[in-house]
């Protein structure tokens, strides 16, 4: 039964499978032709590059190539709904976190459906359902009521004039303050409409509450809108009074240049998960966000904010599937003297602490992120698994047993099964760290193979031995040559992520059944197509991954698509090729993240036909 579980694991989280618009060069590669038997063994051992050496593929062509530059940026949505988190974080930023934390607001907000805890870039649906709209309405009303009914909050949001609510105060707010919620200024007509809302509701607090409820649900507040730059000219009426006449700048080659408000919102949401702050709005107003160079300082400033750390963690959660880690088998945990409760949560936190430290605090490059042998075990339990000291502050501790980078640490190595699974681990590396598509197996063939092995007791074999037997047929190996070599080197770590010298086979009650010698060596890592590197163990595997073309391309893809909340499409290739190139050239991941958010795409939008 083993292989069936392992091989179809990808399907359970099916949206992390192949995106619907895979780029051509990402299609599944044809299985490599087997080499003549005489070539195997000696020749490879003598002549193959080791993992530490830069692989030939490093000089290979990039995964992403900008072949149609006129299409760049045109796959961005013109109207993208905010997630529940984005909406509430925006409300916190504009009204105050204490307002959003009020029980009445929380009760209403609980009715807005949340997004997936899995891979949001693959699974996000841009459409609203009824519950979204109803929840947003209830939440906007609760927020408005909370603010308006409390004089101190009223003043915080509307200014000192709100002590005594009057039309002048509302006019001032609509002219200046409302853009914090709407992310852009109101034109005269909208402002007049909103003022009528206030006055028709009898002015005073009632009018103010209705007005704020309306603003908090306005399309500019609920969606990201990409709108064009305006060209304005000054005209005069018959009485000589001057006024401005504005119209959209014309589109060129199917795209238009977006206005500075759009740019500000794109940068802010991607980096902080909430709307633009005052400094960014002011820059937009002054027309200071016209180019990457203009906007860079703001992006750098936002990346230093606490919100950026949370946003980066969200990206890592989605990429590495950290919110769906398995709970270790309790019987085995008991035998090993490890409390399994909440271990997955703690392991996730540890990986996030590591990655955010590397990316934001240490300015690490992609290679370092994959290989640095430090960590943040915050408890005795985690320190025991790492064989390290406990990390107590902002600085990590050294991990002495080969744990390193994004892969060889507790979180990705956790298993809920009685034994480790080289196939599951290989699939994880292939799909998550290399962003490769893996076809689902033919389960009829899997079942036939499983039934053909009924004479084999898996517990009498090591996990590797059983996997090799199970996947030996040619039809299995067409995929498993891409899976197994990425899982076998990780056999040096048990299902809790601890280093081991020997594999223990467990019975269901947690008693030991057998011990097996470890074999972590693989002849061909097969990370990139045609990759013949030999890998001895996990340490060499992560070096090979860190040096691979696919890893840097994958990191580029994940940084970019998380900002877009959608899978990669062909139109993204230009931005992605730049980010990928930067990572290959040793740019820091932080810079690559900035580039993923702020690039030429940020300033354009597909024009309607």
């Amino acid at each position: 039964m083993l292989s069936a579980a392992l091989s179809c694991q990808g399907q359970i989280s099916a949206p992390d499978g192949a995106p619907s618009h895979r780029l051509e060069h990402e299609q599944e590669a044809a299985p490599a032709q087997p080499e003549p038997a005489a070539w195997s063994g000696v020749w490879r051992r003598k002549h193959k590059p080791t993992a530490e050496q830069p692989a030939p593929q490093q000089t290979a062509a990039q995964r992403f190539v900008c072949s149609v530059p006129e299409l760049r940026g045109t796959a961005q949505r013109g109207a993208r709904r905010l997630t529940r988190d984005e909406y509430l974080q925006s409300a916190s930023a504009t009204l105050g976190a204490d307002v959003v934390a009020l029980p009445a607001v929380q009760q209403a907000a609980a009715q807005i459906p949340g997004e997936t805890v899995g891979d949001i870039t693959q699974e996000f649906q841009n459409e609203h359902a009824y519950d979204h709209v109803f929840g947003l309405l209830a939440t906007a009303q609760a927020l408005a009521k909370a603010v308006v009914s409390d004089p101190a909050l009223r003043v915080r949001v509307f200014g000192a004039c709100a002590k005594a609510v009057d039309q002048g105060c509302v006019e001032t707010y609509l002219a200046a303050g409302a853009k914090r919620i709407l992310k852009r200024p109101l034109n005269d007509a909208r402002r007049a409409q909103l003022l009528r809302t206030f006055s028709d509701a009898g002015n005073g607090e009632q009018g103010l509450e209705l007005l704020l409820s309306r603003l908090l649900q306005a399309p500019e507040a609920v969606f990201h809108l990409a709108l064009p730059k305006q060209q304005c000219v000054t005209a005069a009426d018959s009485g000589g009074k001057e006024f401005q006449v504005c119209q959209d700048e014309p589109a060129h080659d199917g795209s238009f240049a977006v206005d500075a408000w759009t740019v500000a919102a794109r940068i802010a949401y991607a980096l902080t998960g909430h709307g633009p702050d005052d400094a960014l709005l002011t820059a937009a107003e002054r027309g200071e966000l016209g180019s990457v160079e203009d906007a860079r300082a703001h992006a750098v400033r936002l990346m230093a904010s606490p919100a950026a750390r949370i946003q980066l963690e969200a990206m890592l959660d989605a990429w590495l599937d950290l919110q769906r880690l398995p709970t270790p088998n309790p019987a085995v945990a008991s035998s090993l003297g490890i409390d399994p409760s909440e271990l997955a949560t703690e392991a996730r936190r540890e990986l996030l602490d590591f990655a955010v430290y590397e990316i934001l605090d240490r300015n690490a490059d992609a290679h370092t992120l994959m290989t640095d042998a430090v960590g943040f075990p915050r408890s005795e339990r985690m320190a025991k698994l790492y064989g390290s000291e406990i990390a107590s502050g902002d600085e990590p501790v050294a991990l002495p047993h080969g744990h390193q980078g994004l892969l060889v640490r507790v979180a990705p190595l956790l298993s809920g099964q009685l034994r480790t699974s080289p196939i599951l681990r290989g699939v994880y590396v292939r799909k998550r760290l290399l962003c490769d598509a893996l076809a689902s197996p033919d389960f009829t063939a899997v079942q036939a193979r499983t039934e053909g092995l009924t004479h084999v007791d898996p517990k009498r074999l090591s996990a590797r031995q059983f996997t090799e037997q199970l996947t030996a047929p040619t039809e299995c190996m067409s995929c498993h040559t891409r899976i197994n070599p990425l899982g076998f080197p990780l056999e040096g770590y048990d299902g809790f992520g601890a280093a081991r010298d020997v594999e223990i086979t467990w019975n269901a009650d947690g008693s030991q059944r057998a011990q097996h010698a470890l074999d972590t060596h693989v002849q061909e890592a097969n990370i990139d197509e045609g990759d013949t590197r030999e890998v001895a163990d996990a340490s060499e595997l992560v070096q090979a991954i860190a040096n691979s073309t696919k890893y840097s391309a994958c990191l580029a893809e994940r940084l970019y698509t998380h900002a877009q909340l959608r899978p990669v499409v062909a139109e993204d290739a230009c931005a992605l090729s730049e980010i990928e190139a930067a990572l290959r050239d040793g740019a820091s991941v932080k810079d690559a993240w900035l580039q993923a958010v702020l690039n030429a795409d940020t300033f354009v939008q597909r024009a309607p036909p």
Partner: protein
Amino acid sequence: MRVDVRSRRMFLQGAGGVLLAMPSLPSLLWKVDRVRASDTTPQTRYVQWVVNNGHYDEHFWPDNRYAPTEPVVIDGAPVAHLKARPLSDIPGEMSIILSAAFEPVRAKINVIRGLDMMSSLWYHNSCVPTCASWPRKDNHIPFFAHSVDSILEGSAKIYPTPVRTPVLRLTPGVRSASWWGSFCWTTENDKPLRLPAYETPEAAAQALFGNTQGDAALAAQARTTRLVDEVVEDYRHVANLSALGTSDRQLLSHYIDLLADVQRRSKGDAPACSTPTLQEQTDNDSLHQNSCDLAVAAMLCGTRVVAYHCYHGLSEGYDEKTIHVWSHDEIDKHAQTQRYRYAHFARLLHTMDQMPDVDGKSLLDNSVAYVGNELSDPTHAKSHLQNMGVIVAGGAAGKLSTGNYLDYTGRLFNNVFITIFHALGLAPEDYQRNGVIGFGDYEGKKPERYTTYLTNAERQKPLPYLFR
């Protein structure tokens, strides 16, 4: 029956109505004060309960000794592809999964075997047990994205006048945008749209019963109506901007439609009940007890459709990846997770059976409660989506027979849903979508096996004998 908030409030004060006392059940800590309607014609309710990861035959089906063997004779002639046997023939628990929890309601359920889904691929499914449709890619997205609950939600036959919550969708304890989601789908702007569900009974209770009674509710309704009018104005303004493309305009236009729905529903029939009190939740058991009790309260109080996906398989904790691995590698544990899920379904049925409806019969007698699985064979192999595990419970106010173990081998799974639609009074023009005659997918391997049942006439027929 149209009851506005004010008149109902008077009823509750004893100004002319009769309070219907609810049976005192130890597990029902909430209290429902329900007004007896002047109309004693019961409304048929629908419960859609879904589980995932399939089941092994030896765990789900009753022992082969008790398999249906007798052809069913209707109007003097045996019915093709149908055998039946009373469930009462089976001693003890019906099976490992269909545990003793079903005993109080065994006479009111049908265990149905032999129904097949046609399909060509072997993926997991988010819509097979609710839309009879399988995904063409490994992404859960169904080809025919209309689940039974969403069809009923939009049907004027089910809701001639708007109600506040036409469908109560629940995925207790699990974010419904994750994994299989709620198994509830519709199609918007020609694209499949996965419908969300409430993750907590508290949020569901608030949506169902929050602020529906008294003068405050009337004032809130008036505020909401006015607010929505004004918000719609903002959306129309933005939707008319020339810079937006077609899909963006559709998105905003859909939002306007949903705002109009909010307004309609807020003016519609409010639930004729007080807000239930939920018991303290300490584990998955109490979470599901609360959720099920809330579902019953909703059905007694105006909501006719409940969609429920039970993800948990144990009293404590939840780890879908491990549960999935069990479905392949530790099948005894897998059986226990399914037993847990079906036991909660049985408990829901039992609760429904203890709740008297307006005609004096039980809520279960007047309902259709269906449970389906996204897979049949957990290995996805040779018998993928064949012999689907189905339970249809409740009498649908006399339209369904109960208490049977039915074997429809040779027929299509899709007809379960046709049966349900018929039981709820829907005709083909009410449930057919996308130009498909019948309901769901009729594409897949080996259509020659089902030639008889692929004709237009057969696609629209309810399952014989199950449907009276």
